[in-house]
Symmetry: C2
Subunit: 259 residues, 2 copies
């Protein structure tokens, strides 16, 4: 394994689509990669995973075995991931010089907020793990939605505390102008503050401005990576960040190749 | 309706248990209240709801009707809540001088992060709605867990932007000393910062200190309400906050009655 990207984010932001499209982009760019599906409840996947947790964990079995409905079964299934870490690990070891993309369970808390998940990342990837937080462009196009996504990102980051990308997915749905607007909020908290005022009216003290500035003043969290899994746009940038982290930026030719 | 409390939080933090216990506390204190279950996927409820969304929405029906697995069906079911708002509303109108407790779907994003939910709250409660964010004491006892919970709280708050309580549930599991420690973090960001350093080692710039200070400098978000649904501890405080908001603090006798 060269490095692992654990793809997380709220349900419906396009995690699985991102995983499939990014894998295809890597293949076209001559980088070896595999996808590991970590969602025991996945019904349809837009890719063919090399390793699939559903070989080891069946949601239907859990529902009948523990007499649980879908809600409870999903929580139990996500807690069973750690018990299967060694089995996955031994399969992973077959892919030596590969990037590994981990597609995590559909709803964010089944992975990002389970107590065992940071341990799972450690067991599967050692020190070679990073996270991609997939944010939905449609939600992020309002100031309140953007702030909410950033705080959710921060919440996940606090749990894992490993390098993490803020991937603004589905930008094909909002267009370049809106992407630029979102980026301008990131660069200029006062603009975001003004936008929030326009959207929500009165402001609760300086709460949001403080939050926004806190993000702004931190290097790790300010970068937005706009992508479109549909158009395969922005993947060179994601790759370059990954490569930078895992290999100290030695392999940066992709940036130039695609420009 | 005197006022409505929408109870949200990650799966497993004890939302339904809190709803049931708080309702019992209100009844014992001679305040009229009802519980509305908004979780179409609830299998077992530790209370008897006066109004139940499962009368209108069936997860099993959705699974077969839309050919969906449990994952997808839960998302569809939560999006159907808004279509049933009027039906619930007409039942609510039967309870004039009541507090209404809304128990929301098990996983946080099925309610807190669906685009239609702020509209749902508006339709069900008008201007008489507030949120209770149920945080898990066991998670909140480490600095990183506490920060993560607070940011998740902030993320939800950004979406709804109505008064919101940070309810530290299950304090019976961590004991008074740990509750005091968590409260001291809230009052003194430097202490939390130090704790985070001890826990995680090196710090990414001033990111967390900025975040912590941003929370600290805002009145709306700094208060922690420790409760134990098991012991019915702390409910007088929750009630007093609710009453303050809905009735301008005119009914504050409960505070004294229970002391």
């Amino acid at each position: 394994m060269i490095g692992s990207l654990f793809v997380t984010g709220p349900a419906g932001t396009g995690k699985s689509t991102f995983c499939g499209a990014f894998k295809e982009w890597l293949t076209r760019s001559d980088y070896d990669s595999i996808i590991v599906n970590l969602d025991p409840g996945a019904e349809y996947l837009p890719y063919e995973p090399e390793i699939d947790i559903r070989e080891f964990i069946s949601l239907n079995d859990i529902m009948s075995e523990y007499s649980l409905g879908p809600n409870g079964a999903q929580v139990v299934a996500s807690d069973l991931l750690i018990d299967n870490a060694e089995k996955i690990r031994s399969k992973l070891d077959l892919y030596e010089d590969y990037y590994v993309i981990f597609d995590t369970p559909g709803q964010i808390e089944l992975f990002s907020f389970r107590p065992s998940s940071p341990m799972l990342v450690e067991r599967l990837a050692g020190k070679k793990g990073m996270l991609a937080f997939i944010a939905d462009s449609v939600v992020a196009q309002t100031p309140s939605g953007f702030i909410s996504e950033k705080m959710l990102f921060g919440s996940v980051y606090s749990r894992f505390y490993i390098p993490m990308l803020f991937v603004l997915n589905k930008i094909d749905l909002i267009g370049d102008e809106v992407v630029d607007k979102i980026k301008s909020w990131e660069d200029d908290p006062d603009l975001l503050y003004g936008g929030f005022l326009d959207e929500k009216g009165e402001m609760v003290k300086d709460y949001f401005l403080n939050i926004i500035n806190a993000f702004k003043e931190s290097d790790i969290i300010t970068k937005i990576s706009p992508v479109s899994s549909k158009d395969m746009f922005g993947f060179d940038d994601i790759y370059s960040d990954m490569s930078n982290y895992f290999q100290g930026g030695e392999d940066t030719d992709t940036e130039y190749r695609d420009e």
